[in-house]
């Protein structure tokens, strides 16, 4: 069950642009995410949920406030340090899958391990294990073009978990999939959360998908509007 917060946001703001055209996307976010939690982030477009996810994923930096990841201040890190943080602790799943084209499922999955400098044998073993976990072991030598959308997203999930990250960030992971594939993906995420202890943060605008989460954070106008806890137990 949820214990210490792995992520803490304190008064986080984000302003795009400057001067009269400046737009304040985040107006002071306070949020704690417990280790092992499954959090769905909801809200209308422009509510700040994607901006928050980008900051939580260390892809973007806050304009103000504090962002603690495992007790470390991320807002003070530079580009490369944040890249190393992503490499070590985070996994990403995108709405558009974002696999490398003309590259086999296994090579896509192995990619993060390559950047970690792991050797060929270790890459192969971990890559195949991750593909096995998402049920695509037999499809390892297929390129994205030869896989269905659901399969591509599962390869993307395998790529995200192959490094055994602490946190998996999923940005509308079912946005491009039909309901049947969406359910498969959600069950896979739930399984990873429960059985592998990965903290899952997911942006979605579908209540059906959010229902798989344990906690739902509602965003509105750059604020956290409300937090529902214990949605699914």
């Amino acid at each position: 069950m949820p214990s210490d917060p792995i992520i803490s946001l304190r008064g986080v703001t984000k302003i795009y642009g400057s001067g009269p055209t400046a737009f304040q996307a985040l107006k002071g976010i306070d949020l704690d995410i417990a280790q092992g939690d499954f959090v769905a982030v909801m809200g209308p477009s422009g509510s700040g949920k994607s901006t928050t996810m980008n900051i939580l994923g260390c892809l973007d930096v806050p304009s103000g406030g504090e962002f603690l990841f495992k007790g470390r201040h991320v807002e003070t890190l530079d580009r490369d340090q944040r890249a190393l943080l992503r490499r070590r602790y985070l996994g990403f799943v995108f709405q558009g899958f974002n696999l490398l084209s003309r590259t086999t499922a296994l090579e896509n999955v192995e990619l993060p391990l390559l950047y970690r400098g792991e050797d060929k044998k270790a890459r192969y073993d971990s890559g195949m294990a991750a593909l096995d976990k998402v049920g695509l072991k037999d499809w390892w030598d297929h390129t994205p073009a030869e896989l269905s959308g659901g399969q591509q997203q599962r390869v993307a999930i395998a790529r995200a978990i192959v490094t055994q990250p602490d946190v998996l960030l999923a940005d509308e992971p079912t946005g491009n999939l039909d309901s049947e594939r969406s359910i498969e993906i959600m069950e896979l995420l739930t399984d990873l959360n429960r059985n592998s202890g990965i903290t899952v943060l997911m942006v979605t605008h579908e209540p059906d998908m959010a229902a798989y989460a344990r906690t739902i954070v509602h965003f509105k106008d750059g604020h956290v509007e409300r937090i529902e806890e214990g949605v699914s137990a």
């Binding site: 980008n54 994923g57 892809l59 973007d60 580009r79 490369d80 890249a83 190393l84 992503r86 490499r87 070590r88 985070l90 996994g91 990403f92 995108f94 558009g96 974002n98 696999l99 490398l100 084209s101 003309r102 590259t103 090579e107 990619l111 993060p112 390559l114 950047y115 970690r116 400098g117 790529r159 995200a160 490094t163």
Partner: protein, 401 residues
């Protein structure tokens, strides 16, 4: 880190074969065109130089009248006499050899073959002036010259056309209806400044005067200047001597001319230098066009690659690693293209040079410059768009359409 990026670079090249091929194609064409053109241009220049040097170095040609074929109105200036030759030989310092010459054209016949050619009447000194040696047989004996015997020495073109592969020495052929004995055949000289120098039959001047020209005049005197003397000094002395001999009044124009073969060589060398420069300019343009081709392919693939960069950054690659991969890719493709281009240029030059009758000259400098220039274009245009993409926020790079 370098190992990883090299693996990634080769994977990317292998996966996008068409893109890789098109990128290298630009470089291949650029390099091949430049190197081939400059190589052939250099060959042509060398061929012209070769022809110039075959005219004989430090040779003064003394002819009646002013310049080539400028007869104009008035009486034709007189030809030279035997006495003029003797005076030049005896009074002019710095002379290595002096040869008189008369010319006539006619048909040479041997058995069934006949060949239209030029007959030179001269002495053995002619071969010394021209630094020309017999390939087989011998040159004139003094008594043959003195008596004007019907003997001839043939150039290689005449030999090929009349005797095919057979040894002509000792054979009797007919020239302008007169029988003569072939005593020697000359070494090949090739194309000269004034056509095929090997298309010639050389006979003793006295024979040619007696049987063909019908007088004892000498139409041209060739003077080889000793290497130890300055050609222009000897030329000035020769002009002074001839004005005196031909009784040209002070202030009047010469009724003869002395032509320094070095003048032709200087003129022709200047011309070929300009030609080479034009070729180099054309080559530079094709290199530039090739470069623009490379830029195009590189820029077109930026959209696709920007997303790729976004993916790599998101899953934890440091910008430096992504850039290193692109740099390695660009270097590999550019160098590969450059090497293929050099190879093609080598093959093309070796194939085309004989057709153009120019020597093949491998110029390391040209090869190196073309290679480095195109490789630099490939690397720069492969690297800089990637650098811009890697500077983007990973999220923006991912959204790039």
């Amino acid at each position: 880190m370098l190992g990883t990026t090299v693996i990634l670079a080769f994977r990317a090249i292998n996966r996008h074969k068409l893109r890789s091929f098109l990128t290298t194609l630009g470089i291949i064409i650029g390099v091949a065109a430049v190197v081939t053109m400059v190589t052939l241009g250099n060959g042509a220049t060398a061929a012209v130089r070769e022809q110039i040097s075959s005219l004989g170095a430090n040779v003064l040609q003394l002819r009646p009248g002013q310049g080539f074929g400028r007869g104009g109105g008035g009486p034709r200036p007189p030809d030279f006499k035997q006495a003029d030759l003797a005076v030049i030989e005896n009074q002019l310092t710095g002379v290595r050899a002096v040869a008189p010459m008369v010319q006539s054209s006619g048909t040479a016949i041997y058995e069934g073959s006949n060949w239209s050619t030029t007959v030179y009447g001269t002495t053995a000194a002619y071969f010394e002036v021209q630094s020309w040696k017999a390939d087989t047989g011998r040159l004139f004996m003094p008594e043959e010259e003195e008596a004007g015997k019907p003997v001839c020495i043939i150039g290689n073109t005449v030999r090929t056309n009349l005797f095919q592969g057979n040894d002509p020495v000792g054979k009797r052929m007919r020239i302008k209806g007169v029988s003569c004995q072939v005593i020697g055949a000359l070494a090949t000289r090739g194309q000269g400044g004034f056509g095929d120098q090997d298309d010639v039959v050389v006979m003793p001047i006295k024979f040619v005067q007696r049987r063909f020209t019908g007088d004892r005049d000498i139409s041209q005197i060739m003077v080889a200047v000793d290497d130890a003397y300055d050609t222009s000094t000897v030329q000035a002395s020769l002009e002074e001597l001839m004005r005196e001999r031909r009784k040209v009044k002070p202030g009047a124009e010469d009724n003869f001319n002395v032509f320094d073969t070095k003048q032709i060589s200087d003129t022709l060398t200047g011309t070929t230098t300009i030609l080479t420069q034009i070729v180099a300019a054309v080559a530079a343009i094709s290199l530039l066009v090739g470069g623009i081709g490379i830029m195009n392919i590189m820029l077109v693939s930026v959209t696709e690659r920007t997303r790729e960069i976004g993916i790599r950054l998101a899953i934890g690659a440091v910008a430096r690693e992504v850039l290193m991969q692109f740099l390695v890719e660009a270097i590999v493709l550019s160098c590969l293209g450059g090497l293929i281009g050099l190879l093609l240029a080598l093959i093309a030059s070796i194939a085309i040079a004989p057709l153009m009758q120019v020597p093949f000259i491998f110029d390391v400098k040209v090869n190196a410059i073309a290679f480095l220039f195109s490789a630099a274009i490939g690397v720069v245009f492969g690297y800089f768009p990637a650098r811009r993409a890697a500077a983007l926020n990973p999220i923006d790079a991912l959204r790039h359409e």
